[in-house]
Amino acid sequence: MVNLTIDNRKIEAEAGRTILEVARENGIVIPTLCTHESLEPTGSCRLCVVEAKQGKRTRIVTSCLYPVAEGLTVDTKSERVMNVRRLVLQLLLARCPESAQLKEMAAEMGVGAEPRFTPDKDNVKCILCRMCVRTCEKVVGVSAIGFSYRGTEKKVCTPFQEESATCIGCGACAYICPTGHIEMETTKTGDSRTIWGRTFKMATCTVCGRYFAPEDQLKYISRTADVPLENLAVCISCR
């Protein structure tokens, strides 16, 4: 266990944990876009910056990656931190002016668009945090999408930008996306959904008769978990 101070509060925490985890457990709010409990932190959105003082040295660090240490003093809301955070958000906003989630966050933090940063006009809502790609690989285990091209051309897409044969249509990438970039459309009746340019047929629950999951996803779960397909024919609410 180590002793540290976050926003003038003395906190005891387990060594090896990150500032963000410890702060959140103690009810200190730090805004983030690219953190999720099921994924390792990567520090790509840069919104979780805090001021960390160790000894005589004070610096701006990403709290989602910085491990707590004995005698560490953290300030999550100093003027310096807020300046950095506002700037980061303004840059993200200029990249994705259409993203509802970013707009909401900006309104909460009282950040307006910065005239210096010309907003992109391509209507891309992706901040390139790579959460979708990592979810598809680490959580779902399918790796149907990836980052392709580089620099200003970089974007998330399926191989060859075609319908992916490996995609199971689970929609985890659309769910995890913090800025609403990935689009998944479901028909009114719910009998099919379209994601990454491919349409998936949905399976119905044998009890309530509602459409609840893509057939390909059920087949995938049946194959990887070695469960007969019949055992997966009932939706969560009816189980």
Partner: protein
């Protein structure tokens, strides 16, 4: 194609950390990276195709489009640029009838412009099939292209 890819993958004992050298060898073999070859590389290395596609699109050295038999690269670095590389580029483009980054329809020529080649003292530099030609000018570039066997279309042939 499948056998060739398997042979290349086995050259590296199927180790997925050699993905880039394997792709380089595949490209050398086929002169570009055919889609089917990428799928078999993915299958034999157990690397997801999305990851292979990430690597292929990241590096400019990899091409998903067929490349010409003769590859021309013109340096557009600062030193070459100020010495008129732009004019040479226009000349090569007019001569081959393609734009920078393209390949002629008969798959004979590919032309690309590159950043600095590290031979600024020789600028402007034109690299033809790996061979450096320094102090390039419009007349010299035409001569090189003619030497490569491209017939110059005369005015009445062009119609």
């Amino acid at each position: 194609m499948e056998e060739k890819v398997i042979e290349i993958v086995q050259r590296y004992s199927g180790d997925k950390s050699y993905l880039v050298p394997i792709l380089q060898d595949v490209q050398r073999e086929f002169n570009y990276l055919p889609k089917d070859a990428l799928f078999s590389v993915s299958a034999h290395l157990s690397v997801p195709i999305s990851r292979v596609y990430e690597v292929v699109t990241f590096y400019k050295a990899f091409s998903l489009k067929p490349k010409g038999r003769n590859q021309l690269s013109l340096c557009m670095g600062t030193a070459c640029h100020v010495r008129g590389a732009e004019l040479i580029a226009r000349n090569v483009e007019d001569f081959l009838g393609i734009k920078e980054g393209d390949t002629t329809a008969d798959l004979e020529y590919s032309f690309e412009t590159v950043g600095c080649l590290g031979a600024c003292a020789l600028g402007p530099v034109l690299v033809v099939n790996g061979e450096y030609h320094g102090h390039m000018n419009i007349a010299k570039s035409t001569k090189i292209l003619k030497k490569l066997g491209k017939k110059v279309a005369t005015d009445d042939e062009q119609d």
